[in-house]
């Protein structure tokens, strides 16, 4: 009986949570397709990633509106309130991740038909890591698992190492062959966008910790 008192609220928040998972899936797909467009040099696919970003933005705003309505009509408190506030922050990070995927797609279009400077090795690794971290952090969000969230935030170190490796390698190539600077820079942008996705996952991890514990703190200062 006591649990039915807030059944309406619980249902409404579950709907929001479902939307967050849907948004997460769309972001995951945007990352996958952006990488594919880079690997295959497929400008049509790249343009699709850019165009589809509108849908992601629309869902983001819808989730924010749902959160506003929850606050206005249900007056959540304590962990309920923290979950709504965290969700409003998480939705922004997810939407920005999609912007980073779009950033890669835009670079693909800028690259035109120029051949790749070098075979892609670490960049796909970064992309896979980003997707794994994204899936895992959404799992931690749904489970409200602060421990898991902290573990996922720790994996951002792997991402930073990969980025560093790509960076060093590209700088070396640029120093050797000044004619390669433009093409090297394009790849650097792609790697940078993926590295930023890792940072966004860390932001989400911080919010999951906040929901569970009430502590607001940076996880990878």
């Amino acid at each position: 009986m006591p649990h039915s008192l807030r059944a309406t609220y619980d249902r409404a928040f579950l709907d929001v949570q479902e939307d967050i998972l849907r948004l997460g899936k769309m972001v995951d797909e945007a990352i996958t397709r952006a990488l594919e467009s880079l690997q295959k040099r497929d400008q049509v696919l790249a343009q699709q990633v850019i165009d589809d970003d509108d849908q992601i933005n629309a869902l983001r705003y819808r989730i924010e509106e749902s959160c506003l309505a929850l606050i206005a009509t249900q007056q959540p408190a304590a962990s309920d309130l923290r979950a709504v506030m965290a969700t409003m922050s998480i939705v922004v990070d997810l939407e920005r991740m999609a912007d980073h995927a779009s950033g890669i797609a835009k670079t693909v279009i800028l690259m035109g038909d120029e051949p790749l400077l070098k075979p892609l090795i670490d960049v796909p690794r970064m992309s896979n890591l980003a997707k794994e971290m994204l899936a895992a952090i959404l799992d931690a969000y749904v489970k409200r698992d602060a421990k898991l969230a902290r573990e996922i935030a720790d994996r951002d170190d792997e991402m930073d190492q990969l980025y560093r490796a790509v960076f060093d390698e590209l700088v070396e190539i640029m120093a050797d062959k000044p004619g390669s600077v433009e093409r090297a820079t394009f790849l650097m942008w792609c790697a940078h966008n993926l590295e930023r996705i890792g940072d966004r996952v860390t932001n989400i991890a911080e919010r999951v910790v906040f929901i569970t514990t009430g502590d607001l703190q940076e996880l990878n200062p």
Binding site: R6, A77, A78, S79
Partner: protein, 257 residues
């Protein structure tokens, strides 16, 4: 005075309260800070009103009740034998759930306390006290042209503010409010809430409320009562954003109670 001085108005130590054999309060301890609003929340029948009535010995009037523990008001034990209860209730006024104006004029309602206690020496002084009290209770503008009309003709919200003016007229330090808005519509409720925020500039206020959002809006500190225990007591902001106790979490999120 340039520095804010924080001092305890009430110090409550290990208060138990019994209705006959039934233990209604168990080991309540808390500090109530001067010129703060302290809200008491909790499910019905969990002791918050009983506790409120301990603060000005209103329970003395109920037969077969017993209190143990200590309640200090400005450092003075209010349950000491030589405590003057009339004097205590002047220092600690009370506002009830349903507005209870006397069937008299607005003026006479507010003048009642000062007249009985002989607080004013002249008609002019009494008139000044009545005006000041009505102003502090934020109802002066509405009633100043009809002070000699019946208080019963006022709206419920106005009646409640009149009752607050009546309390203020005897110059208390503390105002206890027992669900003061539960009989009022939402606008009248907000008016009382605004008033509570204003009154805390001069008075220490303890308010029992069933409306959790009201506690969140008006109070500095909130205490959750549960089956006669004080489960958690602390800064209102913290109680409503990150309570420490599971029972508080369950209550403020509406999952029990």
């Amino acid at each position: 005075m340039t520095e804010m001085q924080i001092s305890n108005k009430y110090s409550v130590h290990d208060v138990d309260f019994y209705y006959g054999e039934f233990k209604a309060l168990s080991e309540i301890s808390m500090e109530i800070i001067e010129r703060e609003v302290t809200a008491l929340i909790g499910p019905s029948g969990c002791g918050k009103s009983t506790f409120l009535r301990c603060l000005n010995r209103m329970n003395d009037t109920i037969a077969h009740t017993r209190m143990e523990g200590k309640i200090l008001l400005d450092g003075e034990d209010i349950y000491e034998e030589d405590m003057d209860v009339v004097d205590l209730r002047q220092r600690v006024g009370m506002v009830f759930q349903k507005p209870n104006p006397f069937p008299q004029s607005i003026f006479d309602n507010v003048a009642f306390g000062p007249r009985v206690l002989g607080l004013t020496k002249s008609r002019a002084e009494l008139e000044a006290t009545v005006e000041k009290s009505l102003q502090r209770a934020a109802i002066w503008d509405e009633v100043k042209d009809g002070l000699h009309e019946s208080a019963l003709d006022l709206s419920l919200g106005e009646q409640q503010r009149l009752c607050i003016a009546r309390v203020i007229a005897v110059e208390p330090d503390v105002i206890l409010m027992d669900e003061p808005t539960s009989a009022l519509d939402p606008i009248a409720t907000l008016e009382i809430e605004v008033l509570v925020r204003q009154l805390k500039e001069q008075y220490t206020i303890v308010i029992v409320t069933h409306n959790m959002q009201q506690a969140a809006r008006v109070s500095d500190k909130t205490g959750l009562f549960w089956l006669g225990e004080l489960v958690e007591f602390g800064e209102t902001n913290l109680i409503f954003t990150r309570p420490k106790e599971e029972r508080t979490e369950a209550y403020v999120t509406g999952r029990v109670g």
